[in-house]
């Protein structure tokens, strides 16, 4: 009796250990669970034969390096990160672009009566991630000699609320909503206005993993596409799930942001070619901008940067 149970248990444990090791697919996010990841939480992974563990991130989570190093199977990155990574020999490939137009923008106080991004830079303070290409494009186009540039507070709006002359880099679908909730009157400008428009919230994989396990990548993309369709149609369930993980954002804000981000995710291009689609022309434009800024010296073939499965 004793022995029999023992003999049965051992292989069971071995099987369990094997499963735990190989089956879980890891997806690393580059920020906390928020609506920009809604489709990833809504995705029916098991329907596509996947068991996915989503790992939330924070400020500066180096997802692009994690994907390249193989410490996660998939990661959320942005198109500009893919190009920089490839220029450093980190073989990362984009599979699915959630945000077709970059939701990056600048928010300022409406009381300043600004009419363009150029106006924002005429005086006061601006919080930017000055290493990002759009910041340097701004500097090249308008110059930073009249504005005080300070580090981006990464989603925190305390300084903004505190100072009428303070402007900051933002996610158009996030900080402005938070600021309005706090009673501020906000004017926003999209960075795509100056012609810089990388795909963002992009699902990426390492080239190595894509070659070794193309079927899993295919299943992942299909699941994610289903997930985003579901989230666009009805974000409620996924919002509740994300709210549990990230209670600092209330459900009402989750719903507002999910609604505000729709036009960035569903565009003419996605209606033609499906959610997450990417085009070679867009990648080529971006690569040319990087070369022009001097961030990369070599030519990176656009076709290597992304793969539509």
């Amino acid at each position: 009796m004793y022995r029999r149970t023992f003999l049965k248990t051992v292989p069971a444990f071995a099987l369990l250990a094997a499963c735990g090791k190989s089956a879980k697919t890891k997806l690393a996010l580059n920020w906390k669970p928020e609506p920009e990841f809604g489709g990833f939480y809504a995705a029916p992974y098991s329907k596509h034969g996947l068991d996915v563990e989503i790992l939330p991130g924070g400020t500066g989570t180096p997802t692009v390096q994690m994907v390249g190093a193989g410490s996660v199977d998939f990661g959320i990155v942005s198109a500009d990160e893919v190009i920089l990574a490839r220029s450093h020999g980190n073989d990362v490939v984009a599979l699915f672009a959630v945000f077709q137009d970059s939701p990056t923008g600048i928010m300022a106080h409406a009381s300043r009566n600004l009419t363009s991004i150029g106006d924002v830079l005429k005086d006061g303070t601006i919080a930017l991630e000055s290493g990002l290409p759009f910041a340097r494009l701004l500097e090249r186009k308008y110059g930073f000699s009249h504005v005080k540039v300070v580090p981006s507070p990464g989603g925190d709006i305390t300084s903004f609320l505190h100072d009428e002359k303070f402007a900051q880099q933002c996610f158009l679908t996030s900080e402005p909503i938070a600021a309005r909730k706090q009673g501020a009157s906000v004017k926003v400008f999209a960075v795509s206005e100056i012609g810089y428009d990388p795909y963002t919230t992009v699902l990426a994989i390492s080239g190595d993993s894509l070659r070794k396990n193309p079927d899993r990548a295919k299943a992942m993309v299909a699941a994610v596409r289903d997930g985003w369709r579901a989230y666009l149609d009805d974000p409620k369930a996924a919002n509740q799930q994300m709210n549990q993980l990230n209670p600092t954002m209330d459900l009402e804000t989750f719903a507002e942001v999910a609604d505000a981000q729709k036009p960035f995710i569903e565009t003419d291009a996605t209606r033609r070619n499906g959610l997450g689609t990417m085009s070679r022309e867009r990648w080529e434009t971006l690569i040319a901008q990087f070369k022009d800024l001097g961030d990369i010296s070599q030519t990176i073939p656009a076709d290597e940067c992304f793969r539509m499965l």
Partner: protein
Amino acid sequence: MRKTLLPPLIPLVVFTLLAEFLVREGFVRGYLVPAPSAVLRAMVSGRVELLHALLSTSAGSLAGFALSAVTGIAIAILLSSSRGVQRAFYPYAIFFQTVPLIAVAPLLVIWFGFGIETVIASAFVASVFPVIANTLSGILSTDLPLRDLFKLYGASPLVTLFKLRLPAALPQVFTGLRVSAGLAVVGAIVGEFIAGGGLGSVVEVARTQQRIDKVFAAVLLASLLGLGLFGLINLFSHLMLRRWHASEQAH
């Protein structure tokens, strides 16, 4: 000189060569850990920017550290004045040790603005506690016979403090300062992440550009700054203690 320089140089050379080998041979990928030669190149090509950043971070760390030294010692003297004062305020001094600097840094910006004031405040918060704790422990552990001797001659508490207890506490004060010097540099860089400027900004920008070689170059300069401060304190410690304290006479 040869005896103090040679021992630390050996591990430096060994580790540098090892890292270079591992990256060159592809055991470690260059975008995860840069080759030492790449860090060196980043230092040379970015020397103007890095030097400016280093000066700015040095100013912030030094000012924060000086503030820590002065107020830390002053607070320790106050705390040592009576058991009651100590019981009432010491727990609040521990606040400085446990405060999560990253979490309060945005508040520092609101109070002190985007500039070196925030960097100094951040360096101060990070580095004041070891000075308080070590100085206090030094003042409280004066040799009892010596204290009796001062009492016997009718010395006032103030005279006892400045002629006996504080000088006798100097070795511990210097221990506190040594710990606090490194923390001041860390605090300054955290402040720069939030308020801008200095090596902190260089690290931030280099990180968004995936220039890990430059990140390491800036980090290396920050550690050299910490090492420099440490050396400076050792020099002071030696000058002040060499005539009477065992720790500075052994060699």
